[in-house]
């Protein structure tokens, strides 16, 4: 699941519990030969948002996560992966 295209975002919760959020958008995009522009247009966001998501600078909302997963015909948990430390 986690490969060289996967970026992780460290989420620190109030309880000091650390959660890592990985997303496989870049990997899936490459697998399906989809450009950032095409994905952005299909899910209704700017290309910059896709870049930020792929670089782990921005976390998608549940709605956007759902749209992206639907685009790749996958479950949300297969695209966005939570991992507890």
């Amino acid at each position: 699941m986690v490969n060289e295209y996967t970026v992780n975002v460290k989420l620190t919760l109030l309880s000091a519990e650390v959660i890592f959020l990985y997303n496989r958008i870049r990997a899936l995009r490459k697998e399906n030969k989809v450009t950032q522009d095409e994905l952005a247009g299909a899910v209704g966001v700017t290309r910059q948002t896709i870049i930020s998501l792929e670089n782990g600078k921005y976390n998608a909302s549940l709605q956007l996560a759902h749209k992206i997963s639907k685009y790749f015909d996958m479950k949300i948990e297969d695209v966005f992966i939570f991992e507890e430390d």
Binding site: A40, G41, G44, V45, T46, T49, S52, L64
Partner: protein, 138 residues
């Protein structure tokens, strides 16, 4: 609201801007008050109206430009950035005003310090009203 309708209402606002600007300029010269502030303000409003109309024309060139603009305006990352920027602006502005109150008080400029304190108080009151409204909404 449909995005095309939203754009149409923006065009109407632009027309209102221009009408208001003309009224201000005409009113200021007709009453012979020679109020430079009102006529220049009217002039600025007219320019703003024309800029809005120009933007409307550029956006509504074709369906593709409308779609692109809609994406830019509804992009969740852009909305988050705007929200964070507004929040930071509020914090910095409140801090600056509070600093100004202290500095003015030190230099014995009580009247100015008093009015700035009122504006800080007003900001805090507005913040709490917004907070309560959103607490009910969300």
């Amino acid at each position: 609201m449909d995005y095309k309708k939203k754009l149409k209402s923006r065009l109407n606002i632009a027309i209102i801007y221009i009408a208001l600007g003309i009224m201000m300029i005409v009113g200021s010269s007709a009453t012979k008050t020679d109020n430079d502030f009102i006529s220049s303000f009217g002039f600025v409003i007219i320019i703003m109206g024309f800029v809005r109309i120009r933007n409307y024309r550029m956006i509504t060139k074709n369906d593709d430009t409308i779609r692109k603009q809609e994406i830019i305006e509804t992009d969740e990352r852009n909305i988050t950035i705007q929200s964070k920027a507004k929040s930071a602006t509020f914090s910095i502005y409140t801090l600056l005003l509070a600093t100004a109150v202290i500095v003015l008080s030190l230099f014995n400029m009580r009247e100015a310090a008093k009015w700035i304190s009122y504006s800080v108080l007003l900001l805090v009151v507005i913040y709490w009203i917004c907070y309560l409204v959103y607490q009910k909404k969300l």
